[in-house]
Symmetry: C2
Subunit: 521 residues, 2 copies
């Protein structure tokens, strides 16, 4: 893997949902970089962007910025530069299936070969990056990794590529290279990097590598305002470019020098990562590997390595960026109107100011609002004061206390074979639409508590009921009695959509016995 270089892609724009500043989605345009591996970090709890994000569809899945999800943007950002087979997505076990289903449903990358790594337990970035480094090192001793958060908006394009090339050049010399963003406001919640001298020989058309003087975590307001004026300080983007072996080496050195606080055992992180030696971190053969990983300290890579290493560098990245840290990021979905409102979707407003109103589908009408956020989804609506956008997690916590399903998943659910949407849960029955991708099929299954009626409304279904298999065309229906072993398949090349009416005394998703499944569920 990764010894060969593929050809560059062709430039084209994906359809965007609306005006979107400079966050236009671009397809790969450049030359691949030998040995470059992308490690896309895709975790998240889905709390800060609720109700657009859910536990099973965190912020990275949200498709409202230019019509594709943030993680799709992250993958496309490096797809043209990474070596062949060099796209690795690191997530947690809990999200792995949802993530695969999501990326498979995304235009432009559905057929891209993506390598999935899943942590059995989230252990923060030090353990995650060490694990990825050890894994890559086995694939490619010369591996250079670019670690990319997938929950940010970043300006893509030629300037990004230039920045990455300069960073890779520094990384090849053994540096841990951070990408720093020019601050545009005195943020007190971010980490900052204080730039030092330029590093000779690492420059390309205005992008220049620098030494790092210091990392400054969450400065106070006055300090942050000072940083804005000196121009020496950059926001720490969380993006990192480094050789895989340098990651482990620098963690080990940090341990040797006991340079980090007692609670951070950097050497153990590196040693454990080397030992786990996972060849396929999506399966985690054996309890030992899981337990060893779970026992690692949960610390950021910045603390465990960057802040104590003498091999760090920074490349100032003069790129538009947003951390999509709260629903306020919706302001970049479309250009604000002349009253400062961002209105997107099925929205009618009278006389509001400086407000954000987003509705995916249902009608939302607003009247005389000021500094309010309204986010509407099929099953839940949030209305919040703009200055409380950071506290949406409090809402999610309150909903968790009352057991609200709306924090876990939305009314629609992606599956490896397609998707379904719940239309109504009634007394003794429920109604869904089910979409099956061409060439795919659901598992061979049966239910103990419900019968099902299937009405095909688009395409042709191949249906198995016990020993019979037959076709059901559009505007035809079939019935699956209680206990029948059945399967739904789209054997054609067009869309298949059915309406399913389930009738029974218990209708939970867990009433299912699978006899055969293309996805080994």
């Amino acid at each position: 893997m990764c010894r060969k270089m593929g050809a560059g892609g062709t430039a084209r724009r994906l359809t965007a949902a609306g005006p979107h500043k400079r966050y236009t989605v671009r397809m790969p345009t450049t030359q691949r970089i030998p040995h470059l591996h992308a490690v896309v970090l895709a975790g998240g709890s889905g709390t800060r962007f609720w109700p657009l994000s859910r536990e099973l569809a965190p912020k990275q899945f949200v498709k409202i910025f230019g019509g594709v999800s943030l993680i799709t943007r992250a993958v496309l950002r490096v797809a043209g530069m990474a070596c062949d087979g060099g796209i690795h997505v690191l997530t947690n076990a809990h999200l792995l299936d949802e993530l695969r289903n999501h990326l498979k449903s995304q235009p432009g990358i559905a057929d891209m070969p993506i390598d999935y790594l899943a942590e059995p337990t989230p252990r923060n970035t030090a353990a995650a990056i060490a694990l990825a480094a050890a894994y890559l090192l086995k694939l490619d001793p010369e591996a250079v990794m670019v670690v990319l958060p997938s929950d940010h908006l970043l300006e893509d394009g030629e300037r990004w590529e230039r920045t990455l090339r300069v960073a890779v050049g520094l990384a090849r010399e053994g540096r841990l290279v951070t990408l720093g963003l020019t601050p545009t406001s005195p943020e007190t919640g971010y980490g900052y990097i204080r730039m030092g001298a330029e590093i000779p020989g690492h420059t390309e058309a205005g992008v220049i590598g620098h030494e790092v003087i210091a990392f400054v975590e969450k400065p106070d307001r006055v300090t942050a305002e000072g940083f804005l004026t000196t121009g020496e300080h950059l926001w720490n983007s969380g993006m990192l470019v480094t050789r895989a072996d340098a990651v482990l080496r620098e963690l080990e050195r940090a341990g040797e020098r006991a340079a980090t606080p007692d609670s951070i055992d950097s050497a153990t992180i590196a040693a454990t990562a080397r030992v786990i030696g996972v060849t396929d971190p999506s399966t985690w053969a054996g309890e030992n590997a899981r337990a060893a990983f779970a026992a690692l300290p949960s610390v950021p890579f910045d603390k465990a390595a960057l802040e104590v290493s003498n091999q760090v560098a920074v490349v100032p990245a003069d790129l538009d960026w947003s951390d999509v840290g709260s629903l306020l990021a919706l302001e970049s979905v479309s250009a604000p109107d002349d009253r400062g409102n961002t209105l997107a979707g099925n929205v009618v407003d009278i006389d509001s100011h400086d407000s954000i109103v987003y509705s995916a589908d249902r009608l939302v009408a607003t009247l005389g609002l000021k500094d309010i956020i309204v986010v509407d989804t099929a099953d839940a609506t949030l209305v919040a004061a703009k200055n409380r956008a950071q506290d949406v997690r409090l809402v999610v916590e309150a909903l968790r206390v009352v057991g609200a399903r709306e924090i876990v998943e939305s009314r629609s659910s992606l599956r490896p074979w397609g998707s379904w949407t719940m239309l109504v849960k009634g007394e003794g029955f429920q109604v869904k639409t089910i979409d099956v991708l061409p060439g795919h099929r659901l598992s061979l299954q049966s239910h103990a508590h419900r019968s099902e009626h299937w009405i095909v409304v688009e395409g042709t279904a191949r249906v198995t009921v016990d020993d019979a298999t037959f076709e059901v065309g559009a505007n035809e229906s079939t019935y699956l009695p209680l206990g029948a072993v059945h399967r739904l398949e789209n054997a054609g090349t067009d869309s298949l959509r059915i309406v399913e009416i389930a009738v029974g005394d218990y209708l939970g998703e867990d009433d299912i016995v699978r006899y055969e499944d293309d996805w080994a569920r």
Copy 2:
């Protein structure tokens, strides 16, 4: 009609949705009053209470105050006191079917004999009251009518009944008797009545009839504040008690004396009402009657008669009252919490103050709001600044401009046979649930552009398809091919609910041919 008196009802409380101040729904408890006819005014455009009200379900239909609709309250308010057959509901032709279906669906009055009068064109209260008076006079020359708006909240009970009895006593002497409410705030949008001397002989346990010195329409703020302190001024409730013949007589006298402005031809209103002589104002036999009514001036009864008559009186009604003039009235749905919020339905709030959040069903979460109204329904959500509650009509006007269906009707629709709810309108198909009342059936019908699949999920359906009639039980289905003449019936005594999947190239409600209909549609 109305020569006999029925027995009084039995006191009981209907289930209320929550604490509701003193607006508890009561069943009739008192003796009938000979010749007393209730004329319940039920028009309305459904704009000020949107999205809870719609064009086809105006404010009177809203069921959130104590679990029954405002018009049901109005009917129950007089049901025990009006003479037998003396409940008349006056609406407009546009709303007549919806109103019948609505009242039929309401607990406590579904089986009550109600007489419907429908204006072909809305012409304000002078024409409406004159029409009702002429109509009642033919039924009962001694008729005393109590005219009741149906879009108000009013405290029912013994005090209300006492008030009405005193008013009826005055009315029998030929007076036009208004009911006046004690003002609780300096409203500038209301009409006021200045009380004069007590009228001897018209008193009952603290309720005392008074002369009227003057009517004052919409005073300025300073004047309204003065009214609050003197105690001589009452809010004009719009409730009127009068003999039917006195209505026409006083309109004629106003005409003779030319006491009203030129634009108000009170005598013509009375004369036309007498001539139309409708025996059944829900059918309006002949174009002449319609045209004559439509040609009447559109003026309030107050201007056309009350303000110029020397036969007026007022009975101060010391009753809790709200005109439900805007969504602010939602504050009476339940007691406010200790932050001043009224939260009703599926609502989770963090740190809001003085806000109103109402959700019928879907989850609404709110965070840090102040003086905001959120009203959520199945198909539309309104978020408004509280101080703009009066301007909800602007939203409805804006929605009308863009042709939004959500101002006309909600996702559910009542029918004489039951109701349906739209679950989804998809490309080439739509899904509804349909509920049929026991003993009822839909029309015998066919469609030119859609086939239908019916799945029974509760009860048993009797289905006719062309020449065949058969039963379809729960968890069974049937298919209605394009063009088939079909009918759905609930021949049993239990509920019947089906899921209907319609498939076709055109799915509008107007694709229907009715061959036979229990409601002659």
